[in-house]
């Protein structure tokens, strides 16, 4: 920097120090905001890294629920949801759906019989260009109450310390409710026989602006047939994908979209806590799954089933999970799309 020709002072050290201080304070504030000065902040990066299996993540795949199969179908709204939400998706009519059946595991080639949690992701679009995405699982409650607890669950489960899980369970008694379901609930032999639950609470906003805290579930029309895990283990590693492909080819599969309305005081902020069974439910329409396509070249592949992609008329509630899931899913999406070469499209699919 040239010395000022117009200044009578000699070297203006004080003023240069002021300038340096202003710039330094701004830089430090930026670094703080970015989390560089807070190593304990739970970042999306850390949360997603905690999901990885011991050998590291499967490159090119979703960081959790890595194994899945795409479908297309229709949501047939019966109009009854409009009393609770002004979202156009509840206006009586038919709306296109792209979705994905999946397994709650970070391993994309895991054997289907090994995975307790089965899931579904859906994206419903309405003609006005709005979109509703949801990712649901067959468990009736989430394993833990907060995103921080979820991170601790992942690190405990992945820990080499044999007592880590014992300590985690002792400190998080709510997890035993989930374990009760995992150990005791019947297994089925089909994605089509599962109920899928939002678990997280959202708010439906009606035409008058009134907010209704709700959760939703996809309840299968196909009756669930209980099959023992031992029996399922004898089937092929991809029996769920093969079964749903054949089943849907034979006839479309249906689920009712059932909305459960909270009573005042129900635990909306904690997806580990079920609501009492007598809560009002509203059947708002039917999901029809009409065509199955392998994920590799399928229409669901590039979709991040971010549960915060919501139409006007649905918003997040005080449940902290949708935000955490959105942040983590985004991180997972950015990673896997950058690793596309590890999970290439097939030659035939490349032309699409």
């Amino acid at each position: 920097m040239p010395e000022s020709p117009s200044s009578p002072e000699s070297f203006p050290i004080k003023r240069l120090l002021i300038i340096a201080a202003v710039v330094a304070v701004a830089a430090v504030a930026f670094a703080y905001t970015a989390g560089w000065l807070s190593p304990h902040r739970l970042t999306p990066e850390k949360l997603v890294a905690s999901l990885a299996p011991p050998g590291g993540p499967a490159l090119g795949h979703r960081r959790n629920h890595a194994k899945g199969i795409c479908f297309t179908g229709t949501f047939e709204a019966n109009g009854d949801g409009s009393a609770l939400s002004r979202a156009p998706v509840f206006v009586r009519g038919q709306y296109p759906v792209v979705g994905r059946f999946n397994l709650g595991s970070p391993v994309p080639n895991v054997a289907d019989a090994m995975v307790r949690v089965r899931g579904i992701g859906i994206s419903i679009k309405t003609p006005d260009g709005q979109e509703w995405r949801s990712a649901m699982i067959n468990a009736p409650i989430f394993p833990v109450s907060t995103p921080q607890d979820f991170y601790e669950l992942q690190t405990s489960a992945g820990s080499k310390d044999p007592d880590a899980m014992k300590r985690f369970i002792a400190a998080h008694p709510g997890f035993t409710t989930f374990l009760g379901w995992a150990k005791g609930a019947p297994w089925t032999g089909s994605f089509a026989e599962e109920s899928y639950n939002s678990l997280d609470s959202f708010l439906f906003v009606d035409g008058a602006g009134t907010e209704h805290p709700i959760r939703w579930s996809l309840v299968p029309v196909a009756p669930p047939v209980s099959i023992s895990p031992d029996e399922l283990a004898k089937r092929g590693p991809d029996f769920l994908e093969e079964e749903i492909t054949q089943r849907v080819a034979a006839s479309p599969q249906r689920w009712s979209l059932v909305v459960t309305v909270a009573n005042p005081g129900d635990p909306t902020a904690d997806p580990n806590k079920a609501w009492p069974a007598d809560r009002r439910t509203v059947n708002v329409g039917t999901l029809l799954v009409q065509q199955i396509e392998p994920e590799r070249d399928g229409p669901c592949r590039e979709i991040n089933f971010d549960p915060t992609v919501l139409p006007a008329g649905i918003t997040t509630s005080d449940d902290p999970f949708p935000a955490a899931r959105s942040a983590a899913y985004s991180r997972s999406y950015n990673s896997r799309t950058a690793e596309e070469s590890n999970y290439p499209h097939t030659a035939t699919g490349a032309s699409q």
């Binding site: 920097m1 040239p2 000022s4 020709p5 117009s6 200044s7 203006p12 003023r15 240069l16 002021i18 300038i19 340096a20 202003v22 710039v23 701004a26 830089a27 504030a29 930026f30 905001t33 970015a34 989390g35 902040r41 739970l42 970042t43 999306p44 949360l47 006005d128 260009g129 709005q130 979109e131 995103p147 590039e302 979709i303 991040n304 971010d306 915060t308 992609v309 139409p311 006007a312 997040t316 902290p320 949708p322 935000a323 955490a324 959105s326 942040a327 983590a328 999406y333 950015n334 799309t337 950058a338 596309e340």
Partner: protein, 184 residues
Amino acid sequence: MTTSRKRFTAPQRLLHWLMAICILSMLFIGVGMVSTITPKYLTLVQIHKPLGIAILVLALIRLVLRIVYGAPALPADLPEPIKLAANLSQYIFYALMIGMPLIGWGMLSAASYPVVLFGSVHLPPILPVSPGLHTLLWRAHYCLAFAFFVFILMHVGAILFHKLVRNDGVFEAMAPVLTRDQPK
């Protein structure tokens, strides 16, 4: 593209300071939101998108004003390399102010995300869904954000140098005071 005015016109100065607030907020929001999983994440993302589009619109208006009204000349005694840097920095800032929102919009389009501004108001995709494009644009958005912040720090350092050390009228040309422009 210089003018005989000693100061930028009032609309130009207004836009400069308004955008300074918007862009600084935007950079802090951006770097903050990707570092957290708390409910703040959603709030910040919901501000980030419409604010980015607002910056794009303001930047385009500002570019038109810049072309129409020009800029006051730099002090004649300013060394040539500094003049060059000052002029270059203006091109860089305009490129970033217009480029960053477009990259962000394109990045969301390439990832098949809806670009929701508020409520049911959303923008159409400007690029086809493509993991390759998404990765390229995401990296560009990320890296250019840090570059943008560094340029702003340099800009602040330079303008304070003009004001506190040289006191040569460069700061006054864009100062946020509403005084009538005096032609030379």
